[in-house]
């Protein structure tokens, strides 16, 4: 094979990088553009965080966490009942979705791997995670609110549980699949049944990763508004039972953001700050935990 003749190449000396050649200019322009796009993408994050912190901090006091929402036009007050309501609905949601999600994940990862059934369940779960949260709210409304005749924390919890389920199934299945096969072989070799292997060996090994997924799902659910909008609905008072309309932080933000009263708008910002802090702290914690495990 003869040596390439550089002298007759289209651009003599093209092995040298020329900053003015069209190809280099195009590449430089595109690099600048992609940097600009990345900066542009980060602007909303910074802007949202800054505004939420600046507007939310002034009312981040004890009263905000312990008192009932102020009547229209009055100053002060808090979102104590909404905070409690969020904890209540999310707890109900977790109590429903964690057992179902983890058990389904056990099947997908331990017994059904590579079967047609597992493939279908995976597919349906993925599609379920794409169902709009407001449609899930409509479903929970039909199933719980219409049946029991009242908006309730339980109805909100059911809606949030459906919303959390795909995340929990996916993260739990991934966590279980990441457990080395040696563990299973050793357990089976020692005479353990499949149930013993799963419950005593594989599941405990996967618990930290499963918990990370559950934490993320819970943080997301706490910020969700559409599913609780007409299931938990809203209330200005403290809850005495789980079968009554229940305020949530996210619904309070929605209601008070569009209210014409300064004190209510102020509380909406502070409640947003609490929600954002909750989600961000969980995300960052989850990330630190995962990173440490990788090392």
């Amino acid at each position: 094979m003869p040596a390439p003749d550089f002298a007759t190449a289209r651009r003599p000396g093209s092995l040298n990088r020329s900053p003015t050649s069209p190809r280099t200019l195009f590449a430089s322009a595109m690099t600048v553009l992609s940097v600009l796009f990345t900066l542009l993408a980060l602007i909303p994050l910074v802007a949202v965080l800054v505004y939420v912190v600046v507007n939310g901090l002034p009312r981040l006091d004890i009263a905000a966490f312990t008192q009932l929402p102020p009547a229209p036009g009055l100053r002060g007050g808090g979102f104590g009942n909404a905070l409690l309501g969020t904890l209540l609905t999310v707890a109900i949601a977790a109590a429903i979705s964690i057992p179902f999600g983890v058990v389904a994940a056990i099947y997908l990862s331990e017994f059904g791997r590579d079967t047609r059934l597992a493939e279908w369940v995976n597919f349906f779960t993925n599609v379920l995670s794409g169902v709009p949260s407001i449609v899930i709210g409509a479903f929970a409304y039909a199933v719980v609110v219409l049946t029991t005749g009242t908006f309730s924390a339980v109805a909100g919890g059911v809606a949030l549980a459906i919303l959390m389920l795909p995340t929990i199934v996916r993260t739990a299945a991934e966590a279980l699949e990441a457990v080395p096969n040696d563990f299973r072989q050793a357990a089976i070799g020692l005479g353990a049944t499949r149930m013993q292997t799963t419950l005593k060996i594989v599941l405990p090994a996967a618990v930290p990763a499963i918990l990370t997924g559950i934490m993320l799902a819970i943080a997301r659910a706490a910020g969700e508004t559409a599913p609780v909008l007409f299931t938990a609905s809203f209330s200005r008072y403290w809850n005495t039972t789980v079968w009554q309309p229940t305020a949530t932080l996210s619904r309070l933000v929605f209601d008070f953001a569009t209210a014409p009263y300064a004190s209510q708008q102020q509380l909406a910002w502070t409640a947003s700050l609490v929600l954002v802090a909750l989600v961000l702290v969980t995300s960052i914690l989850a990330r630190l935990v995962t990173q440490r495990r990788r090392k």
Partner: protein, 318 residues
């Protein structure tokens, strides 16, 4: 557990029938729960469909092409809302796809040392974690006051284009579309980045070896190779945009009539209609809302299933 089997020969050890049935029961139990989780999707479709039945019987497919939503007259048609859903999602894609893919390229190439790159990747992911209702609150008090002068300028100078033919009233389709773009951008960026990182290093090396510049490699090798992943990500983002509720409800103006194609005018989406009316609805209106929910469910289902198929069928087999 009492064992009745003969333990004299190690080769002859068998579990008792109870032990085996418990074990089998456990396996089948997990399978049953997995099936139940899968069937939840079907249950949602069936229940929403059943509750929508009275409205489906009364309005039929006319529901989809009528733009009259009148609670007083009991006449319901969701064209305005379906139009709003499609237009806001389209605006969001128009903005978020180029920026999202640009971000994905920037964060998958080695422009930055990993030490700086990883935190940026994480920050972009955090964008997706901020609750929708917080974007709505921010939109009302920050984004709309900022956008309004832009809208007024567009209307004053480019008002002859039907898209800008109305004077902006503050909230409107354009504000909702923009906030949707912000919300789906991280999805597009994250999935596109995964797709590009997954392209085998040999392809890139071969392109560089043939003398391609970095951006020639990106446009002619990496983007085509990662196309299925990017397309799947865009579809998922579209599904998310169509179903997104709170931020849109707070920013779109919630007008149930539409008289122009202007994106500066107020409108509504299927999801904002549900958010606004469900709690106080009764009788046929509930059924009509369920019909609207079913339409939204169908739209997002099609988009999400297509996304799944695109990703599965065309993903690189490594």
């Amino acid at each position: 557990m009492a064992s009745t089997t003969d333990h004299s020969s190690p080769m002859n050890r068998k579990r008792s029938a109870t032990a085996r049935s418990i074990d089998n029961g456990f396996v089948w139990g997990t399978a049953a729960v997995a099936i139940a989780v899968g069937l939840l999707l079907v249950a949602i479709a069936l229940r929403v469909g059943t509750d929508a039945l009275p409205a489906i019987q009364k309005f039929g497919l006319g529901f989809l092409v009528s733009n009259r939503w009148s609670v007083i007259d009991g006449a319901f048609g969701a064209l305005t809302q379906i139009y709003g859903t499609l237009v806001t999602s389209f605006i969001a894609l128009l903005i978020a796809v180029p920026i999202g893919v640009g971000v994905a390229i920037f964060l998958s190439e080695d422009f930055l040392p990993p030490r700086i790159k990883q935190p940026i990747v994480f920050l972009v992911e955090l964008l997706a974690a901020i609750p929708s209702v917080v974007y709505g609150l921010w939109g009302i008090f920050v984004l709309i006051p900022f956008l309004r002068p832009v809208g007024i300028w567009l209307n004053a100078n480019l008002g002859w284009i039907p898209l800008f033919s109305t004077a902006p009233a503050g909230p409107g389709i354009y504000a909702a579309g923009l906030v949707l773009a912000i919300m789906i951008l991280p999805i597009i960026a994250a999935i596109s980045r995964d797709a590009m990182v997954a392209v085998p290093a040999e392809l890139r090396q071969a392109a560089y070896g043939l003398g391609a510049t970095r951006w020639e490699t990106i446009f002619q090798i990496l983007l085509p190779a990662g196309f299925s992943g990017i397309a799947g990500g865009v579809m998922l983002a579209l599904g998310r945009a169509m179903g997104e509720t709170m931020a849109v409800t707070m920013l779109i103006g919630n007008s149930n009539t539409i008289d122009s194609f202007s994106i500066l005018s107020q409108g509504s989406t299927v999801s904002s209609l549900l958010a606004n009316q469900f709690a106080e609805a009764g009788g046929l209106q509930v059924s009509a809302l369920m019909y609207a929910a079913l339409v939204l469910f169908g739209l997002t289902l099609v988009v999400n299933v297509l996304a799944e198929i695109v990703v599965r069928r065309f993903s690189l087999k490594l």
